[in-house]
């Protein structure tokens, strides 16, 4: 994947947001696209909104964590924000006046919590940790978060959890080089599928808009596309116990000699953005004559986004082509991708 496919595309830097005093690890847009949350090594969460001309820092949440805040994620209603920290806790913040206040601190993981994310129904919160487990919590009205399940399916540090866009199925990415999927079954949560193909840790993953594909990115410098095969599928892929099977249908590699730290699949435009240890953001799209069982993905553009590793990329859920990134270089940046 050396050359960009010839299309009229442009990835333009819109704004640089400064303020964090340590590596910025994660950025996340609120469901209405109006607030961008960022978090990092300086133990804070910053909330940015756009006034008439530019994005500015509206609030800094400082009292939640004792160590690096590794990731932030919004509930589907937009009222709640979950933050995962190296201090072993997950904080849940609720909108209060012009800012957010911490309404719950979830403990239980044995060491660093890497990721926390709400289900599309808003009913569940999943967290994951270096302790190799994924926890599923119930989100209740009275701010009592009950742990429903502790899932020990991985044999290594779990780096990220991401929910399916439509149903309450959650995926996890791990240092053990695999990704796994979990669902609720008979009042408990179980792992029902393993995505195995990468040769090193999986740093990030995301679902396609219809939830039938997953993209993963890895320390092994490759990106893989996976497809869901349901029981009784016409391609005759064998399944077990009535569960779907996920197969790797495309591997994109050889374009970088550095790990890829994050990947995001836009639910509005179907474009994939990657965050690289080579300081680049790359945009990928499925080729025109692509076969769903053997799709081809091409890089349509890339840009030297930051002066150090890009740790996270995320698409706005409301504005097509609007993208945020963050980096070890202490900055958050906003971009416009135009086709």
């Amino acid at each position: 994947m050396n050359k960009n496919v010839h299309r009229m595309v442009a990835l333009k830097e819109i704004e640089i947001l400064t303020g964090h005093t340590g590596k910025v690890w994660c950025v996340a847009f609120s469901p209405d696209g109006l607030i961008l949350a960022s978090c990092g090594e300086d133990k804070t969460i910053r909330l940015w909104t756009k006034d008439s001309q530019s994005w500015t820092c509206k609030a800094i949440l400082t009292e939640g964590h004792q160590r690096t805040v590794r990731s932030v994620a919004w509930s589907p209603c937009g009222r709640l924000l979950a933050s995962a920290s190296f201090d072993g806790t997950t904080c849940v913040w609720e909108k209060s006046g012009g800012s957010f206040e911490c309404i719950a601190t979830l403990e239980g993981h044995e060491n660093e919590v890497k990721s926390a994310t709400f289900s599309p129904s808003g009913q569940y919160l999943a967290t994951c940790s270096r302790d190799k487990s994924v926890w599923v919590w119930e989100v209740s009205e009275d701010n009592e978060y009950e742990c429903l399940s502790v899932l020990n399916a991985h044999s290594g540090d779990v780096k990220k959890v991401v929910w399916h866009p439509h149903v309450d199925v959650v995926a996890s990415a791990s240092y053990d080089n695999t990704a796994k999927l979990y669902k609720e079954e008979d009042d408990d949560w179980v792992s029902f599928a393993t995505l195995q193909s990468h040769e090193s840790s999986i740093w990030g993953l995301d679902f396609s808009p219809d939830g039938k594909n997953i993209v993963t990115c890895s320390e092994d410098k490759s990106i893989k596309i996976w497809r869901e095969y349901l029981p009784g599928n016409k391609q005759n892929i064998p399944t077990k116990d009535g569960n779907p099977v996920w197969k790797c249908v495309c591997t994109i590699q050889g374009f970088t000699d550095r790990p890829i730290y994050d990947v995001a699949w836009s639910k509005l435009t179907n474009c994939i953005a990657t965050a690289g240890g080579d300081n680049l953001i790359r945009i990928l799209k499925e080729g025109d004559k692509s076969d769903e069982d053997s799709p081809s993905f091409e890089q349509v553009t890339s840009i030297k986004a930051h002066t150090e590793d890009v740790n996270c990329v995320t698409w706005s859920p409301k504005v097509p082509g609007f993208l945020a990134s963050c980096s070890d270089d202490l900055t958050v940046k906003l971009w416009n991708f135009v086709e």
Binding site: T68, R70, F86, D157, K159, S200, D309
Partner: protein
């Protein structure tokens, strides 16, 4: 932790002579290009966690095992633990990484690995040392940071 040293009789090596200073080095208007000798000079004096000796004296680091490209901003250091089951290997690797992180411009991508074939669990250790998130979290641990700082102490 055991009171007995793991490697009671380490093999010792002589230090390399100091680098001769040339006219170009003294000219402030020319920006120094970082080469493997400069990287080696940064890490040769690191203290071994167990013995009152430097990594150079124990041949854990050698100039030949340092690769640098200033223009590409890449540094690769391979280090050789004194014995194949050395339990200090991860700590030594981490100390080398921290020294380089603190000394080099942030544009440099740093890789620290065990010299192939010199440690029983080199794959597992290399994987840990390469994982930037694990390294960042480990360095937030006050006890570990203290031990690492001791390896870096006294011009280490």
């Amino acid at each position: 932790m055991d009171d007995k040293l793991e490697n009671i009789n380490p093999k010792l090596f002589k230090k390399t002579a100091a680098r001769p200073i040339s006219e170009i080095d003294l000219d402030d208007s020319i920006e120094d290009i970082i080469d493997s000798r400069e990287i080696f000079d940064l890490i040769r004096g690191l203290n071994d966690p167990e013995h009152p000796l430097t990594l150079e004296e124990l041949h854990v680091v050698e100039e030949d095992n340092v690769e640098v490209s200033d223009v590409e901003g890449i540094v690769r250091v391979k280090f050789t633990p004194t014995i194949p089951h050395c339990s200090m290997a991860t700590l030594i690797g981490l100390s080398i990484r921290v020294k380089l992180l603190r000394s080099l411009p942030p544009r440099f991508k740093i890789s620290v690995e065990i010299s192939p074939g010199t440690h029983a669990t080199e794959h597992a250790i290399n994987k840990q040392l390469a994982d930037k998130e694990r390294v960042a979290a480990a360095l937030e641990n006050a006890n570990l940071l203290e031990v690492v700082n001791q390896c870096l102490a006294n011009n280490g």
